[in-house]
Structures are given as C-alpha cells and as structure tokens.
Symmetry: C2
DNA sequence: CTGATATGACTTGTATGGTAGCCATACTAG
DNA sequence: CTAGTATGGCTACCATACAAGTCATATCAG
C-alpha cells in the first residue's frame, strides 16, 4: 500500500541519479519513518506499480536495503521489513560508538580546520534553535549533519559511510519517540562539549564527550522497549 | 579476460545461494587476490559470457562490489576495479581498529564461553603450524576465522559484518606481500595475547593487545607503498 | 592539414517475459 | 472427520530485449 506520505517522499526526492538510487533513498526513509510497519511484506511488483517503474530497479533497491539490514529478502517467498529488536539496536549502537569515538579522538589528535569548526558551531547554534522551538524533524537533520561534518572534517569518509549504514537502525527507534525521552537541549550541549574538546585538542575529553553522547540511547532504550513493546520483537516473550 | 585461476574459483565455489551471491563471492576473491588488476575495466557482458550466466546477476554483483568499494560503476561508461591507495587502506584500517578494539574490550568485560575460547585456541595452534610451514594462504583463512569467531563469540554479529566489509581493502594489500613483512609467528603471538587477556578478563590488556595487533599493518605499509609504488595510486605523484 | 561532425561500437540502465519454488486453499481418498 | 495431495496464485530469480548515454574513430568541410 502506498500512503500519501510515501508518495510525497517520491515526489520530493530530486531526480538525482538512477531510478534504483532514488528508490533506495525513498524506501529507506519510508522504513525509518515507520511508513512501512516492521514485518510488513513488500513486493517488487507492488512497489514498481506504485511508482510507475519496472521491477528491476525495485529489485536492486530491495537488495541494497537488505544489505543495510532494513528488509529481508526471502527467495521465492517475499520481501519483508525487518522488525525492530533491542538486540539489533544494541549491536548497531555498539558499532557506531566504536567508530565515532575513534573519530572524535582522531579529530582531537590531529586537529580540524577552522572552516570545519565554524561549520560545527553553526550547526550547534541551529540545533539549539530547533530544540527551543521543538522542531524535532529539523533537529534530526541537523544532528545527522553534525556527525557527518565531524567525520568528513576529520578525514574519515569511510568511517562516515559505515556510520551512516548502521545509523538507520538507530534512527528508526529514535523516530518512534518524538519527542525523545532525552531533552534536545542536552544533546546539543553534548555536541558542544565534543567540539570544545576537539578545538582544545584535549584527546581524553574528546573521547569522553563522544562516549557519553553515544551512550545516551542506552538510557532511553529500556523505556522505549517498555512503551513500544508491541513494536519490539524481543520484548514480549 | 578470464584467467584459469578465476575459472577455478568459480568451479570451487559451492553452489551456495543464488547466482548473484556466487558471483559476488568469486569476483570479490578475484579482486582481492589481484586476479583483476587495479584499474582494470570489467563489463557486465564480458563476465556474463565468461561464466555462462545472464547479465542481470552480474550487474547485481557489480553493484554489491561497488558498495564494498572494490569496483566503481560509471554509468554508461564502464565498471572498473578501484585502485589501491594508501589513503583507502588507512581509512579501512582506522574503521577496523575502532571496531575490533571495541569487540576485544567487550569480550573481556563480559567474558566469552569456554566453547569459544577453545575454538580460538585451536585456531591459534593451527595458525602456528601454518607459520612454521610457511603456508601463507591457509594462514590468511585461519586469521580471518580467528577474528570472526572472536566477534561472533562476543555477540557482535553486526560488528563482524562491518569488519568483513572494510577488511577487503586491507586483504588486497596483504595479498601483495606474501610473505608478509611481518613474521607470521609474531601475528600468532598477538592472537594468543588477545585471547589470554580476554580469558583473564583483563580489559585493559585486551584493549592493548588488539590495538597493537591492528596497528601492525601501519608498520609494514610504508615499505609496501615503496616496494609496490606502481600499484598504489597515490605513491608516485 | 585541421577541426567539426556524424557514425557505430561499446557501456550501463530499464523494461518485460519466463522459470522455479513456496504456501494456502480446496479437494479427494481413506 | 482426517490426512494426504493437487492446484492456483503468489514470490523472487534469471534471461533477454530495448533504451540511452559515452567515446573513439572515420568522414567531410574549410
């Protein structure tokens, strides 16, 4: 079933790149934003009809989504949106923490250009405005931008690519809880702490600040599992 | 061009899974083992003819390879084996170190089952025999198994999936230098140090041991760049 | 001889037809 | 009524046909 919200994603997505890439972006967003329920069956034909394209690019987008751990392709049976489980969230969080803490350390050790620092400060400022205004969607976008700019600014493009990949699992959970159980102001402050430490090239503080930031979800996760026990696969049995 | 060595890979690869998965495994190995030279042009048609399959699964394997950073697909132009650059190796190494050090710490903190410890010890023993016998190919297989068993044994499946992905870049370099500039015995000893620390649940030692192990390639890389300057993209200009 | 242009042989991207396998349902034998 | 089986509709997978872009080469005008 194609909801209006998904159709809107398809329209809004600039025709950048091939149909396959466009489909991947749209379907990925749709899954993260819970437009497709966990466990829901998709199908090449259904999606291709809905977007008026052929089955082949849909198929390729499905394969890509399955590699990102967002759907599961069962040969000769169907393609299903994977369920959210506490385990999958914890595993993704573990990998993300490992990488981003290392990035933070690296950035503090080697230093980052003033250009990047300015960009980070600017993002933090805009995040603060979103926090005060309660603009959660916009905050998420700025949050992702912050981590991207930090990783790329430290010269770790591959690290960002991997982070982006595992982040999808976490974003899906975060999208469940809007407003988040963690106040946005607290997250913004953590961002500021990270940038401060990096600017001072205080390696230990940079490590610590990112470590604390990455463990924030561990605090809120148990509450979410309880509150959305119907969504989490491994909660109620 | 299809060398006999590649055809052998195709034959040997058990018919596990779909044609696409089989093609991916074979082409991945072929690239890592330098059966396809960096920069070499592949083509969907060429490969599909060589393996007597249609273009479609080849195309899907190409897409997968491009996501692993082993080939680059240029629309309407061609598909090329990506070159080896010092930068790409360093970036992959950075990510791998971050993840595997975190895994080692986690394993020491939480402990691993005796079953896993036995398996690791067994692998180390077999690695030692390979080291003495100079069986480099077999050692590489056992080395990969070691890191896989450790990651999975610590309950970090996603971490291993990511490690496996970035490892391809490093394996390609390592395959250049057989015998490696680092004595195999030294690597085996490092494996033993890691397992010892984990068994004692000595977190700091487990971190340190894995850290040292992961930085080994940093020592040998400069020599390799110099020795194989014609292979490395960013070496001679 | 030089330079612009058409052409043709490539490439990947997309569309569509056909195949094999899974599964629920209906049906049939006991 | 029950257990086994046939069947029809679905799926993803693979093969093939077509479309569209790129680039080297040949051709032709100046």
């Amino acid at each position: 079933m194609l909801t209006p919200a998904i159709a809107e994603l398809w329209e809004q997505d600039g025709t950048g790149g091939s149909v396959r890439q466009r489909l991947y972006r749209v379907l990925r967003l749709a899954i993260i934003r819970m437009q497709f329920a966990p466990g829901q069956a998709l199908s090449e034909k259904e999606i291709s009809d809905a977007f008026a394209v052929s089955r082949q690019p849909v198929r390729e987008a499905f394969i890509r989504l399955s590699e990102a751990g967002l759907v599961e392709v069962k040969p000769q049976r169907g393609t299903y949106v994977v369920g959210i489980s506490q385990k999958s969230v914890l595993e993704a969080r573990f990998v993300r923490e490992a990488i981003e803490v290392a990035v933070s350390i690296s950035a503090a050790e080697q230093g980052v250009s003033p250009r990047v620092l300015d960009e980070l400060r600017d993002l933090i400022e805009r995040q603060l405005r979103c926090a005060h205004g309660g603009q959660y969607d916009q905050f998420f976008i700025l949050d992702e931008a912050f981590h991207r700019v930090l990783s790329l600014g430290a010269g770790h493009e591959t690290a960002w690519r991997v982070t982006e990949e595992v982040k999808a699992q976490l974003d899906r959970v975060r999208y469940l809880s809007v407003p988040d159980t963690t106040p946005l102001e607290k997250l913004v402050q953590q961002h500021a702490d990270i940038v401060d430490a990096i600017e001072r090239q205080d390696v230990e503080q940079a490590r610590q600040a990112m470590y604390v930031h990455q463990r924030e979800i561990l605090i809120s996760l148990p509450q979410m599992v309880q509150r959305f026990s119907s969504i989490f696969e491994d909660a109620d049995h």
